[in-house]
Amino acid sequence: MAEKIELQKVEVWDGNYAASHALRQAQVDVVAAYPITPSTPIVENYGQFVADGYIDGEFVMVESEHAAMSGCVGAAASGGRVATATSSQGFALMVEVLYQASGMRLPIVLNVVNRALASPLNVRGDHSDMYLGRDSGWIQMDAFNAQEAYDMNLCAFRVGEHMDIRLPVMVHQDGFITSHTAQNVNPLSDEEAYKFVGVYNPVEEMLDFSRPVTYGAQTEEDWHYEHKARQHKALMDARPVIESVFAEFQKVSGRQYKRVETYMTEDAEVIIVALGTTVESARVAAKQLREEEGIKAGVVAPRVLRPFPFDAIRDALQNCKAIGAMDRSSPGGALGMLFNEVSAAMYTTSARPVMSNYIYGLGGRDLSINAIKDIYRELQENATAGEITTPVQQFISLRGPKLSFFETRRS
C-alpha cells in the first residue's frame, strides 16, 4: 500500500500541484502521459509520487499525446482508475482518441491546462483547447483557481465513475494564471479524500476473463445513431449526478459548488458570463462598480461546460437586462461559443436581455479589471436603452484599430 502524506490544513500550491495531489489521493492506477507546457508538472508530480512510493500506480511515459490518450483508453478498459493531463497542441493531437474514449464510455480524468492553439505558436492561456473539446462527448468541469483545480479533480472521478454515467471527464484550469500561481489551498486529508473518491468499481473490464468483452465495435447506420443518442443521454443525466456529488463534497470540505456559479446576480441588471480566472476578475470588477458607480453588476459562470447547463443558465439570467458573454477563444468566423449557447438558452424564456459578445485574452493577453468595468458600463447603456448600443461582437484589449462585427439596426 502506498505511503500517505500528512498535509497541512492550508497548503501553498499552484493549480498543477493541487491537481496532482488530487490524482495521488485518488490513487490513480495508470497515468499515460506526454509533456506539454503548462500542464507538464501535473504528470511530472504523479511520476515523482510513484517514485517516492506515495502512489502504487503505473506511470507510462508515451511518445505523443495521441498515444497518451490511447494508453489511457486501453488501461481504462482494463478496469482501473486512469488520468492524465495535457494542453493546447497536445490536446489537439488527442482529439481523435477523445471521441473514442467517450464513445467507449470510459471514465478517464483528463486535466486540461488551457492554452492557446497555434499558429502562431503560443504557450499562454486561452480557452481554444477547452472549446475544441466541447463536442467530444466528455464532461467538462472548469476550475477558476488552484483550490478548485484540486476540488474538481476529486469530484471528477466520482462523476465519471458513477454507475449511471460512465463517461470521461475533463477538468480545466487556466494556463499559468491558475496552473503556475501559488495560492492557499485547503486539501482534505488523504483518508478523507480517498473515502470521498472511493474504490474504483470496474465495469465490463478486459481483465475479467470469465466475461470476455469487445470494446470499440463497428456500427453503421443500423446502430451508430442509437449509441450516440445514449451517450448524449448519459451526458444529460450527469446533471443531477454532478449536483449530488457537489453536495456530498460540500459535506466533507465545506466548499459549495454548482453547475452554474452566480455572484451578486439576485438584483443584477447587467451580467457578465465568463469562464476560468476571468470569473474571479469579473467578480472583483462587479463588486467595485456596485460600490463606486451604483451599477448593479453580477457574474455568471458555467462550472460545468458540458453537459451545458442550459437550465441553470436560464434560471441565473432570467431577470437581468443586459448580458455580456466573454469568449477567450478565436471565434473562427462566428459569434463566440458562450454568446451562442447563452443566447440560445435565453431565447427559450420570455425574458429578452440584450446580448453582446466580447472576445478577449487570446494567447494570454492580459485582461484588466478596468477593461471588465468598461464592459459593464457598455452593458449598463444597453440595459438603459433596452437595445444593443454597440456592435454585437467586439474584440477588446487589441492593439491597433478597434475590431468589431455586426452593427445592430436601431429601432
Binding site: S70, G71, A76, A77, M206, L207, G216
Partner: protein, 317 residues
C-alpha cells in the same frame, strides 16, 4: 486443447476455438487463418487489441463479435498503445490485488494491417516496443490498404499495381521497395521478431508460442495473402502462400534479442520469383515486354536478400 501438442492438421482443426468463424472477412482471406492460429495456440487468457482495417471491421460488427476473449479496437494507429495501457493496468492491479483472477496467466497481443504497422501506426508501435511492454504485435501483412479498396502502403512491393500507385501505359506501378520492418523492429528493441506464413502453420504456431512466452515486446510479420487485392482465386490462398515462401520472396526467419538470426524454413526446391508474381493479378502487367527488367530486378533482389540472411545466420553475431 491448445495447439501445443498438435501433430497434424486434423488435430489442429479441432483445437480450442476462440476465434469464431462467423465473421465477414472475404472467403479465402489469410487474416482469419493467422488470427485463429494465434488464438488457438495458447491456453492463456488473451487481451487483444486491433487497429482499424479488414480484420477489425469484419470481426466486431455490433451486436456481434467473433472474439471469444477480451478485445479492443480504438483507432487505425494505436493498437500497440492500447495493449501498452492494458498491460500497465494489469501490472498495477496485480500489485494492488484488485484483479478478479489474479493467478490466471495473461498475454497481450496487438494486431495491425501493414497500413497501420508500416505507415500510420509506426510511431505508436515503435514507442510501445521501446518502452518494453510485455506484448506481441502481429502485422497482418497483405502489402496494401485492403479495407479501403487497395491503396499502396510502404509495404507494397515494387511493381505491384494499387489504386494509388497504378500500373498504366507507361508505369509499372509501385516504385518503392518494401520497407524492412523486420530489421527496424529488431533494432528498436523487440526481444523477438519473426516472419511467418500460414502455409507453414506448424512453424507459425511455434513462433507464436515462442513470442507469447518471451518476456518483453515481440514483433511478428505475418504474410497474409489477400485474394481480393492480390487478385487470385480465393481457394488458392495457401497455394499462393506456398509460392511466396518457396520463391523466398517471403523468407521465414527470426531475430532473437535484436541480433541472433535463424532461418526457420529452407525450401527444398526454390522456385523462380516470376512464378510467384505470375500467380497474381496485381503483377500481371510486369509480364509485358517493356517491364521485363522489373522481373529480372526482382529475382536479383530476392537472391541477394537470401544470401544476406544466410550469411547473417552463419555469422552468429
Amino acid at each position: 486443447m491448445a495447439i501445443t501438442s498438435v501433430k497434424n492438421l486434423k488435430e489442429f482443426s479441432t483445437a480450442n476455438e476462440r476465434f469464431e468463424g462467423a465473421h465477414l472477412l472475404c472467403p479465402g482471406c489469410a487474416h482469419s487463418m493467422i488470427v485463429r492460429e494465434l488464438m488457438n495456440c495458447s491456453d492463456d487468457n488473451l487481451v487483444i487489441a486491433a487497429n482499424t482495417g479488414c480484420l477489425e471491421v469484419s470481426t466486431a460488427v455490433y451486436p456481434y463479435t467473433a472474439w471469444d476473449t477480451s478485445w479492443i479496437h480504438i483507432g487505425f494507429e494505436n493498437a500497440a498503445t492500447a495493449a501498452s495501457g492494458a498491460e500497465a493496468m494489469y501490472k498495477a492491479r496485480k500489485r494492488k490485488g484488485t484483479l478478479k483472477n489474479p493467478d490466471a496467466p495473461v498475454k497481450f497481443v496487438a494486431f495491425g494491417g501493414d497500413g497501420s504497422t508500416y505507415d500510420i501506426g509506426f510511431q505508436w508501435l515503435n514507442g510501445a516496443v521501446e518502452r518494453g511492454h510485455d506484448f506481441t504485435y502481429i502485422c497482418l501483412d497483405n502489402e496494401v490498404y485492403a479495407n479501403t479498396g487497395g491503396q499502396r502502403s510502404s509495404s507494397t512491393p515494387i511493381g505491384s499495381s494499387s489504386t494509388t500507385a497504378p500500373a498504366g501505359r507507361v508505369s509499372y506501378g509501385e516504385k518503392q521497395n518494401k520497407k524492412d520492418m523486420m530489421s527496424i523492429m529488431a533494432a528498436s528493441g523487440a526481444k523477438y521478431v519473426a516472419q511467418v506464413s500460414p502455409n507453414k502453420w506448424k512453424n507459425m504456431a511455434q513462433v507464436f508460442q515462442k513470442s507469447l512466452a518471451t518476456e518483453g515486446p515481440c514483433y511478428i510479420n505475418a504474410i497474409s495473402a489477400c485474394c481480393t487485392e492480390w487478385k487470385f482465386d480465393p481457394k488458392d490462398t495457401i497455394h499462393i502462400s506456398d509460392l511466396a515462401t518457396d520463391s523466398l520472396v517471403f523468407p521465414l526467419y527470426e531475430i532473437v534479442d535484436g541480433h541472433e538470426l535463424n532461418i526457420n524454413y529452407r525450401p527444398k526446391n526454390i522456385i523462380p520469383v516470376r512464378d510467384y508474381l505470375g500467380s497474381q493479378g496485381r503483377f500481371k502487367h510486369l509480364f509485358k515486354p517493356q517491364f521485363e527488367h522489373v522481373l529480372n530486378e526482382w529475382q536479383t533482389r530476392v537472391d541477394a536478400q537470401w544470401d544476406y540472411l544466410q550469411r547473417r545466420e552463419a555469422a552468429r553475431v
